[in-house]
Symmetry: C2
Subunit: 102 residues, 2 copies
């Protein structure tokens, strides 16, 4: 199974990142990965519909937020936190640590 | 001319704020207000279509980002920066000060 492509954060603008985060499902995935560190797609699916989650994974990956590594039959997902913090300082911290839940 | 309603930031969640900011026109307005401090609707319009800008002003106001005060025939707009910083610490700073323009 090939590894998915990951864009360079240097090619991603703040609007793309904001658009990706401005969705309840995707924000929930980002929060789960922040807490869990790394998670398989199955772990992130929970009771969410697989087809729409596949779209959300694509959006998060294409916007430079999500990294997916393939090991055997499993996809392991994590946040590209270090790079995000480098290119958008403070953004993920402010969103993840907000006391105002959505 | 009555003053528009402004929601309490206590009732606004991070998702609403992200959705409001995840638009090129609205992000441009927010950036202009950050630089200018206060601006009339006419100053913010520039060559943008009035009808769509009216919608964008509504979205920014309803999401707690924009404050509008009415003085005579003019509407003066500004960011609710202090309240935003209180409820979403670091969010506006990270978005406004990012070196990666959209």
């Amino acid at each position: 199974m090939p590894c998915p492509d990951h864009p360079s954060l240097a090619t991603i603008d703040i609007l793309t990142v904001l658009r990706a985060l401005a969705d309840p499902m995707r924000l929930a995935v980002v929060r789960q990965l922040h807490e869990q560190g790394e998670a398989t797609c199955a772990e992130l699916l929970r009771n969410r519909p697989k087809s729409s989650m596949s779209h959300h994974f694509h959006v998060l990956r294409d916007s430079g937020i999500l990294h997916t590594r393939v090991e055997g039959l499993h996809h392991y997902n994590s946040l590209r936190r270090q790079e995000l913090d480098q290119y958008f300082p403070g953004l993920m911290t402010s969103i993840l640590l907000t006391t105002k839940e959505s």
